[in-house]
Amino acid sequence: MATSATHAGYAADNYLNHSRGLASWLFTLDHKRIGVMYLIGILTSFLVGGLLAMAIRAHLMAPDGALPLTNDQYNQVFTLHGAIMVFLFIIPSVPAALGNFLVPVMLGAKDVAFPRMNLGSFYLWCFGALFLVGALLSSGLDTGWTFYTPYSTTTDTSVVLATFGAFVLGFSSIFTGLNFIVTINTMRPPGMTWFRMPLFLWATYATSIIQVLATPVLGITLLLLIAERTMHIGIFDPEYNGDPVTYQHFFWFYSHPAVYIMILPGFGIISELISVHSHKGIFGYRFIAYSSIAIALLGFLVWGHHMFTSGMSNLTTIVFSALTFSVSIPSAIKVFNWLATMYKGSISLTTPMCYALSFLFLFTIGGLTGLFLGTLNTDLHLHDTYFIVSHFHYVMMGGTVVAFVGGLFHWWPKMFGRMYNEFWGRISAAIVFIGFNLTFFPQFILGSRGMPRRYATYDVEFQGLHQMSSIGAFLLGFGLLVAGLTLLHALFKGKLAPSNPWGGATLEWHCSSPPPHYNFAHAPVVGDPYEFDHIDYDRSIDGYVFTSPPREVLPKTPQAEPATAKDSHS
């Protein structure tokens, strides 16, 4: 039994030391190793994007720019910050790095459905990243990450290289998505019905659907953009009878759903974190699962809210506003459910939980401020100001990135078999939380007071708020540094981790830390992923053990109504 084989901790033979040498990593088909390689790539991108952000904030300390950057250079810096963070970091962050590692393990499977495609996706990511970096090294990029035409068809920076890079990255994303859809559909173990899947898998599934359906549109858009630039085919550039607003429709048709590619996996992580660290079953499982799918589908219908000022007809504009409001409900439902999960739980304030609490606070602000932007007349005032900048950082950074870091802390012991220092982990969560709010809250005020975004220089009346924001950003950067060092330190000096350090019930906690090459020696027993009754703390290993098998070996017939959906307080 997997459980008994992993009494306390570190498995001597695991996926990390199963084979050795660089080639054994570069040509590996093991989803866990691919996940780890993705993780390295993604964190490197995050570091680069983060340093660029620090440069932006340092420059904005003074109205005329505090760093010796020309306006052109500033524009390149913010463009690269955006492009790197979106395309190289956030989109692949949770699905490709954590997802790759976790999806098969949570399914009790040996690997994803198409391991070669998985490795291919990683190399496509590297290839795309090379093009983006190539663009940076040749003549830079100054279009903003949105590549709006006709600016992007007329500027003389390396738009073609960069868009080609984004095009390739799109394929990487599609490969990952396709792989997960097939994996989740076909490789669930007997007994794991749809409604017995961990919510992280639901979120991954919803994300994958968007990746597969929306990314091709981005591909086409970018190809058309390249064609417009090199051959003047006359679709986006008014000089050749094209229409720049068409480009915006195409672009946002992908990029709004992409917002959900970025945030849904974060929701998945938070569902796991809150439930495990509250040692209580997730509240409203079905609502959370369905709301992920609802978000994925409704997310396709709201792209027009990025274009309220572009010149769409009044009717279209109003319809998009209405649809935008509809997509806010599923997100609200999740927040209520997470809170209800904590109610009467047994909450451990571990580092992952601290990040999860921080997520709830920040994401709620991010979501609520979206209402000001979905409402038409206030959006006319707030569009393209710092209010937007702040709003999407609260969602993307306060939401996804904080969830991602929380997830890293949660699964780090599983991935690398080492515990980190809880004290420093919690300190990092606190610094990140304070730094984040200090950075971005003033930006709401900047925006509503009329400070436009993407400005290299600004009017003096905005200086105080900008300085506050910059100081917050440095603090935030410092907090993330502490988090990074804590995790790195654990790799080398951390205590060996038990198989189940937090008391989780999903399958990944049944195999050793780190998992063996084949994940599970035998098909694991599938129980309720949110049933914590038979998981007890064992002081001798500082971890949790499964005291009795959660359920008989294999249910003869899966229950028609799974325990998760049942009201069990009677």
Binding site: D156, P244, S346, S348, P452, D459, Q467
Partner: protein, 361 residues
Amino acid sequence: MFGPFLSPLWGDVNDGLWFPQDASTFAGEVDSTFNMILWICIAFFIPIVIALAWFAIKYHQPKGGKATSRVRHNNVLEISWSVFPAFVLVIMFVRGSWGYLDQREPPTGAAEVNVQAFKWDWSMDYGNGIVSPELHAVVNQPTRLVMRSTDVIHSLYVPAFRIKRDVVPGRYNVIWFEATVASEKVSQAELDEALKDAEENHGGDFDPERYGFTRQGYTYFDLYCAEYCGRDHSQMQTVVVVHETQEDFEAWLAAANVKPEGMTDEEYGRQLYQTRGCQSCHSIDGTRLVGPSFAGLFGTTHALESGEQVTVDENYVRESILDPRAKIVAGYQAVMPSYKGQLTDEQINSLVAFIKSLNGD
């Protein structure tokens, strides 16, 4: 330590924390919609945060503790918190759309200004050949802007009016407003002092931002470009001046395109160089910007993209301003906008005289 940072927070006490000055008929409604949403958000947020903090403290247990409830499901609760917020959203949606439609329908009889946006400046055409980079309007009288762009997308944004609309090449986008607050005129003494300071310390460059009023002594509202448009996007700003009376506005119009009395051609040319956007592409100290520098330009002979040679004389300069695409200087791109119909003869002559005067002494 936070003193200097907090001052902007309660600096403009009259306008409150969240908004710039309120100076158009739209501002009141936009602000009160904003405040309504703000209160709704606070009403949701505070209980959420209290619950969050309270649960985290109250149900905190050492490792190994067990949850005291197994409730994982409650249909009534779940359905009500899914449905109830929807009503609140409908209120926001309806109110926002109402306000939006208001902004979309200019009243008949509004004054009209043709706005042209280009990298990186604005030119406002008041008809009859009167063009200025500044936007002027009359208080309590609707003004309609018909906007076009000659290069990339820009966006006209006046925070004090709460209006914004993209200016998209290949389209005419329309926006309107009715200002409710008129600009004030500063005293002549103050104006003279500012003009003198600009002349002495800033090479004649009169930056309204520095003094808080325009070259004619009017206080103003900021007009920004809100859609990223390249290098000097952040400097693509101009001023909105709201006149107390139609007469005052007309007096300004009459003077707008005429060389002020007592100014020489060169001086007027220099002023146009600064106010009409040449400055953002042409230097006068020899630095290469988007376009060639004017320093020492006049009288030289240089190559064109077509391979021909051209001598820079009065006619060539005039042609370069009116029809820049006719002759492209070798090594530059054809990005200069045409000023045809936007500069009077007198102004072109002044610019020529100014460029001529830059030829080393």
